[in-house]
């Protein structure tokens, strides 16, 4: 079959999927295309006049890619998998649906990164971080790091890699690479006191000695150095200095780049979003953006869906914050508490494949700071009972815990516990977030994710 005909078949399938109410058709066209012609992805990407850029990380890839789109989207037509479909099929679907695109901008699942990179042959890559996430699905962290190393070594020699060298595993990938732009944070005032419980990648990648941290920012990300062999964080090409965190409202920092330094503000809360902003700035730089464009884009950006999304439900608000692994959850908890500990919270735990079937990770999350001001928590999702146990054994009085497995019922219960004019904090895993947005969309409160993506 010719590529043009294959594309027509695949696109029609996407429209049918939407019409049939089976979701947004964000992966089906790509799946069909990949089945008809496995080489099609490379051929489609090869048509892009400005090439492709890939963003991969355990945490923050959707937000980082969305910020880059905000920075570049005004002057470059993008093929961007904005709705978060980030496997080979999702990338192919984005290419199919945005056929006049000039540049491909794709967030890519950390497990799928080597495969997508091989097919797409990107001209730029942004590697954000590797945290322990869904061991049942990806296997161990070292294994993913090893695959990333191999994939990075196979990139075209003129391709740029923007790398978060605050992560020792990512730093190891760009060591010795000519076209590498190293980014990270540089403000010990906002560092944590030490590594969190059960931090990942605590040991030197070369000699196995525990790394020492001049500043630990998020999980094992920070200004690290191995006391054993002397390996240390490489010098930063792009860095955030003088970071000011403003609770749940946002953050401001000095963005230092090879083009100069500029104060930027983002409407995203928490240190983890400063990482996303610096990652996006770094990728935009290697894609040719200037500092003025970058700071304007960062200023305009509003959160990617479900990651930090405010939904108005009558006279009450809902704040959705996606939580999917210990490192991300700890930052979300820290950020929420910095804005004043909430009185009521809804926490949703599903155990589908996209959430991770193994729910043991919730025991590595430091929920405790959240429990201090809490009067009532509604736990929901397919594994609501596990969450209830996590909080009970974390010291919360069991009478403050309500187990409401059905998501819609739990959302309504949370809203009924919220005073008029107040805001309900909801912390869902991935599929629970999609389902909750679906419920809100059904009530006409938000648009479906594929519509928001248009």
């Amino acid at each position: 079959m010719r590529l043009g005909l294959e594309i027509a078949v695949a696109r029609a399938a996407g429209r049918l999927s939407r019409l049939a109410g089976r979701g947004g058709g964000t992966t089906l066209p790509g799946k069909i295309l990949a089945t008809i012609d496995p080489a099609a992805l490379g051929a489609l990407a090869g048509r892009l006049p400005l090439g492709s850029a890939l963003v991969s990380a355990t945490n923050g890839k959707t937000t980082t890619a969305a910020i880059v789109a905000e920075i570049l989207g005004g002057r470059i037509r993008l093929a961007h998998n904005r709705a978060g479909a980030n496997l080979v099929s999702g990338v192919a679907s984005a290419l199919l649906s945005q056929r006049d695109a000039e540049l491909g901008l794709f967030e890519v699942d950390e497990g799928a990164f080597p495969d997508v990179a091989r097919r797409v042959q990107p001209q730029a890559v942004c590697l954000g971080n590797l945290f322990r996430d869904q061991l049942d699905r990806y296997g161990e962290l070292e294994l993913i790091a090893e695959r990333w190393r191999a994939a990075a070594a196979e990139l075209p020699p003129d391709a740029w890699v923007a790398a978060n060298v605050d992560d020792p595993l990512v730093a190891a990938i760009v060591r010795g690479r000519e076209r590498a732009l190293c980014f990270g944070l540089d403000d010990p005032r906002v560092a944590r006191e030490g590594l969190p419980h059960a931090a990942d990648s605590k040991y030197c990648v070369v000699c196995g000695t525990p790394n020492a941290y001049a500043a630990a920012y998020v999980g094992h990300l920070g200004d690290w150095r191995c006391p054993g062999c002397g390996l240390e964080r490489p010098p930063l090409d792009v860095a955030a200095h003088d970071i000011e965190l403003d609770g749940l409202s946002g953050a401001a920092f000095d963005l230092a780049t090879p083009q100069g330094t500029r104060r930027v503000e983002v409407a995203l809360p928490g240190l983890y979003n400063v990482y996303n902003a610096v990652a996006a700035a770094s990728l935009a730089l290697v894609l040719g953006a200037n500092l003025a464009e970058i700071s304007a884009g960062l200023g305009r950006f509003r959160a990617a869906f479900g990651r930090f999304e405010r939904i108005q439900a009558g006279d009450r608000g809902v704040l959705l914050l996606l939580v999917k692994n210990p490192a991300g959850a700890n930052e979300v908890v820290r950020t929420i508490v910095s804005g004043g500990a909430p009185r009521v919270v809804v926490i949703a735990l599903n155990d589908d494949i996209a959430d991770g079937r193994d729910v043991s990770w919730i025991w590595d999350v430091d929920y405790e700071p959240l429990l201090e001001g809490l009067e009532r928590v509604v736990v929901t999702g397919s594994r609501a009972q596990e969450l209830a146990l996590r909080l009970k054994y974390g010291g919360l009085d069991p009478s403050a815990i309500e187990v409401v497995p059905a998501l819609e019922e739990a959302l309504d219960r949370g809203l009924s516990l919220t005073s008029p004019g107040g805001e309900l904090v909801v912390l869902p895993t991935y599929t629970a977030m999609l389902a909750l947005r679906g419920i809100a969309a059904g009530r006409g409160l938000v648009r479906q994710y594929w519509e928001a993506a248009a």
Binding site: R132, L135, D136, G139, E140, L141, E142, H197, A198, K202, Y203, G208, P210, D351, R357, D358, V359, S360, W361, I362, W363, D364, S382, R383, Q385, E386, A388, L389, R390, K392, Y393, G394, P398, I401, V403
Partner: protein, 253 residues
């Protein structure tokens, strides 16, 4: 009268903690406290000595391959002290990687045997595909009263028990020790090893109490009858987990 307490030694908490082993510790601590029993937690790190007679319970969790390799040599050095502690009445709970390390040896992909502690009559052979999924066991630690144990497993090693060795339970759903024998875990007196994490103890309250009672047995001569606690939440979590195992446990991925 002096307050009853239990001293728990957690081996390598910085290295072997991948499946939320602190959840197991939190459960033991709270369930002891709710009954007025003191809980003295002591981490035992890489270069810390293991003093036989100091602990009522020794706990060892699982890690990624890299972490497990880092502690294996140290644990081999502590082997004699560990065996002496057990001979003196200490209970041991080993989960996942820790379970493998308590066997006689671990044969890696290249066919090399890494020596284990030899506390449990078993050995483990590295396999090609990982066995990942929800698991449900039926355990009969007290003859005539079978109890369910629900968890999650994720291991490439196939653990083979010696002839006559006692497994922890019969596999109702999931892979278990090697995906073939129909059994999971191993028990030798007060020493128990298992692949079940999730973590193991929160949703299996009866088993948490069994472990606690085994630990107290070192002081009391025999495992005490612990007063029951309100476990409705624990039991409903176990039921959900058991249903998961029945619906989707034990398939190669």
């Amino acid at each position: 009268m002096k307050k009853l307490e239990v001293v728990v030694g957690h081996l390598y908490p910085d290295y072997l903690n991948i499946y939320a082993d602190r959840g197991n510790m939190a459960v033991l601590e709270r369930r002891a406290a709710w009954r007025g029993i003191g809980f003295d937690y002591r981490g035992i790190g890489m270069d810390d000595p293991l003093v036989p007679g100091e602990h009522d319970l020794l706990y060892i969790g699982g890690g990624q391959d890299r972490e497990q390799a880092l502690v294996a040599a140290d644990l081999a050095e502590k082997g004699e002290a560990l065996r002496e502690a057990v001979a003196g009445g200490a209970a041991v709970l080993a989960v996942c990687g820790g379970y493998q390390l308590l066997g006689r040896f671990y044969r890696d992909r290249s066919g090399t045997d890494l020596p284990g502690v030899g506390l449990l009559p078993l050995h483990t052979v590295a396999g090609e595909r990982r066995m990942i999924g929800d698991v449900l066991l039926e355990c009969e630690l007290a003859p005539g009263s079978p109890r369910p144990l629900a968890g999650f497993e994720n291991h490439a090693g196939r653990t083979i028990l010696d002839e006559g060795a006692q497994p922890l339970g019969r596999v109702v759903a999931g892979f278990g020790n090697d995906g073939q024998s129909g059994y999971e875990g191993c028990r030798a007196g007060r020493v128990v090893g298992t692949y079940l994490h999730g973590p193991l103890l929160p949703r299996n309250a009866w088993f948490a109490d069994w472990v606690l009672a085994q630990a107290l047995a070192r002081r009391l001569g025999e495992p005490p009858e612990l007063e029951p606690l309100p476990d409705a939440l624990e039991d409903s979590a176990q039921q959900v987990s058991a249903a998961r195992a029945r619906a989707r446990g034990g398939r190669y991925s």
